[in-house]
Amino acid sequence: MREVAVIGVGMTNFGKFLDTPIKELGRRATWDAIKDAGISPKDIQIAYVGNACLGMITGQAMVLGQIILKEVGVRGIPITNVENACASGSSAFREAWMAVASGMYDIALAVGAEKLYAGDTRLSTRALAGGTEVEYEANLGLTMPGHWALRAKRFMEKYGTTKEQLAKVSVKNHHNGCLNPRSQYKKECTVEDVLNSRMIADPLTVLSCNPLGDGAAAAVLVSREVAAKFTTRPVWVAASSLTSGSYDLQREISRNQLEEVAGKQAFEMAGIGPEDLDLAEVHDCFTIAEFMRVEGLGLVPEGEYGKWLDEGWSEIGGKLAVNPSGGLLAKGHPVGATGVAQIAEVVWHLRGEAGERQVQGAKAGLAHCSGGGVASDTPACCVHILKK
């Protein structure tokens, strides 16, 4: 397997862009990544494009990748559209990585693009319910926040985690979002604000849930030889891991076993441990999700993330900056775009280009996305580790 470098990234602002066509969001992010890499569109040999919700939101259920890429003059090459719920973008990135790592291609493009905001919450909610088994749980009245509330209740009971500790995830990530010019939300909030905001599914309030939004991100991945031609500061893909659930009807739902598996695989492949990471972008779709991800991936010992938040250890400048971008809670979560946007964030930190939110001296970072909810398990979990 060959070494693969990321030499260019791009990302739109995340937010509610009802009047902006998806191809414009996708074009902006992709063009930024191409310019950042210093390549020409005609250099790209293969592309993977992640999206999850557009079929429901606008009806564009097919060939989105080809539609976006024609806008930047990428044509006549293999283009594959990738869907894995919230892990669609990271799965597209992984496919692009495999294409180069395998030796079949030297220059690959990964794009994630999404429009989730529709001015009609019911439509967006129905689109998101597509990440569950629609004919089963969704049909019985289980919403996505409900799914996570059930995990939260179980988790709190098992580890003694308090509502205040859960709220601190949102406080931290909203603070980080204020430092990120591309963030959907740039507004501080307090523990009281989070607890007193509208209840969605006990114990999760509206400020404990990610917002609906739109956006796109892109990355250019190349072989070592090509990287040497275009850049003096490549960022290496040290590990890529993708797993699916066990769907065991007896498993304990306060742990996500597939994240333990994916985390272990990724660290083994990278040849480093969690203690070597400077930052982690993890899938904080809900406050409880950040708890379960950092513990599941082995970044924080089981049952200790509440203490980490109390001590400020996951803030920028702490032991391990968790979601310095603002995470899904503040930066936003245009579902199919998120995984590639996380890659862009890690790349910016490793290059020292993350501005006010820069994790000083960052040498290694992790990006994690998990998607959907099936049989009270998670159907997709994707982890990447990037190194300088």
Binding site: R122, N139, G141, G146, A149, L150, K153, R198, L249
Partner: protein
């Protein structure tokens, strides 16, 4: 069944074929593997553990269990008429987790994990055509 301006209203099951009524008692219909004893709801016709379809048969599952985790869902499609309680119940004797709307208690009352629950059949929602969608739900067993 009733009729209206919109035509005939039907009563439909949320998950077709999921329920069986025997001696006025509702039961869930799943599958069981005769080799390892595992039960599945909704039915899986290939055992997830033995990876075989041999000896995997439709089976009537229990209609009682214990509460595993629950929440009050306050934001949902209006057809579900939120707020409502939703939880996971560990079905007995199969020891598998099933999701369900919880009913038969005051939402301000706190239910503890491990509370004994029993299955009932109840209206869940109406669909866009005005048909009544029914499902299994669970309620606390009266002491």
């Amino acid at each position: 069944m009733s009729t209206s301006l919109y035509g005939e209203k039907k009563t439909l099951e949320a998950i077709p074929g999921a329920l069986e009524i025997v001696d006025n008692q509702p039961y869930l219909v799943g599958t069981k593997c005769s080799k390892c004893g595992a039960a599945f709801f909704p039915p899986r016709y290939i055992c997830s553990y033995c990876l075989t379809d041999e000896g995997v048969e439709k089976a009537r599952l229990g209609n009682k269990g214990t509460l595993y985790s629950y929440t009050i869902i306050r934001v949902a499609g209006k057809e579900f008429n939120p707020p409502y309680a939703f939880g996971f119940v560990i079905l007995e004797p199969e020891k598998i987790r099933v999701p369900a709307v919880l009913t038969g208690f005051d939402l301000n009352q706190e239910l503890k994990s491990g509370t004994r629950m029993e299955m009932v059949i109840d209206r869940l929602r109406n669909d866009d055509q005005g048909n009544e969608i029914v499902s299994y739900k669970f309620r606390p067993v009266l002491q």
